[in-house]
Symmetry: C2
Subunit: 265 residues, 2 copies
Amino acid sequence: MNTPATHDRQPIPGIKDTLAVASGKGGVGKSTLCANLAVALAAQGLKVGLLDADIYGPNIPGMLSLEGRPEMNQASGRIEPLSAHGLKTISMGLLLDPGTPVIWRGPMLAKMIHQFLFNVDWGELDFLLLDLPPGTGDVQITLTQLAPLTGALIVTTPSAIALEDVRRGVEMFRQTEVPIVGLVENMSYFSCIGCGHAEAIFGSGGGEATARRLKIPFLGQIPLDPLIRSQADEGMPIVRTHPEAESSQALLQLAEGLGTHFQPT
Amino acid sequence: MNTPATHDRQPIPGIKDTLAVASGKGGVGKSTLCANLAVALAAQGLKVGLLDADIYGPNIPGMLSLEGRPEMNQASGRIEPLSAHGLKTISMGLLLDPGTPVIWRGPMLAKMIHQFLFNVDWGELDFLLLDLPPGTGDVQITLTQLAPLTGALIVTTPSAIALEDVRRGVEMFRQTEVPIVGLVENMSYFSCIGCGHAEAIFGSGGGEATARRLKIPFLGQIPLDPLIRSQADEGMPIVRTHPEAESSQALLQLAEGLGTHFQPT
């Protein structure tokens, strides 16, 4: 895919596609989805990196059971990402003791994102996935200015309030000429373990309707599955531990679609 | 309550208590809880203001059906907050067309927060509630430096990942000497409409255990109630429309506790 020609954007040598996984709003399950997607893409045989761009709330290390500090390669002066589940990963969470807050203003944030993009020894990658924080602030501005984003995947829940924030996020990517791959609706429905009753706790149909209205592809629904959450809490992506689960199947299908979209065989 | 003596903090004339409602992580239902809490406090006969400090994702106007632009009072040069449900409210969402993203770096954010604190005609208030965005960045830094915060209420879900971010948030308030009122666990359990089975979708018991570990008061659980969400989506706080609901009762009880904590009779 072509990178939009935007002044300060620099290619990252060795990386084919750089995909932002974004949501207007926090707490829509974006990091969990992003971690599972990265693992699923790697399981397709693709070379995948995952950059946790949420500096204040870096949840990726916990979700992938990553431990240890990334080391500086003395020869190259670059940071070595950590490997797990077939991925290379970097996150602010790997550079801090647990529970330590990053009380930083925006310029420091921007510097760290620059480091993560250009000073990490990513090597050859088919995909670099970026797990973005919520909002349209410093991290997003820095990324859209500097990173050669070949696409943005938008994650939402069906709630009207999350969808309101989606509009803002989509508009930001349009203004900064990042192609939008599509919208995924997460936490779409919950199936009761007791009786099988499916309840649309966060509302119903909003993702698809919003995708249509914003003229972006709708990429499907992921159910609200307590197992996705408990597996993420335990540091094991559900697509590896329970690939047969309905939620895993939805995630694997999404990964397959993305793989084909970006890397047609 | 005493305001911690921190250099640049200025009192806001006429405002007794300024309470930050915060969560490490986004999407834990903080804004919904904050809006309902503000309405419940106002229903106790208290004079309440609500400052939506989430500049990138201002969801408060939608939750309270606020419409119209706040006007500038020509005589005082101050912004008039909008009134609804017995509250005075200001939000970035009132100053923008729907769906318009605020693509701002941190310094602009800090300026807007300063305006909202000191250049809005709040009048006499018992409580100013601040709905904080997720993270520990520019808005939080600006608020803890400038605003005379008399307390911070922490909202979380029971998921391990949300709780990890809670630790960071609590640590930030401690470092900046803001007293922590306590921790509320939101989305604690979901009761199936089909069979009554209660499912702890986001995990169970984590809020109370974390409060104990961090040595802060645990203020109770709010169930995951589709009605809270649908009422918020429709712009009607559940504590007004369905005060009898289990979730409303939990919210009203929380408001009562806060009212007594800050304004003992």
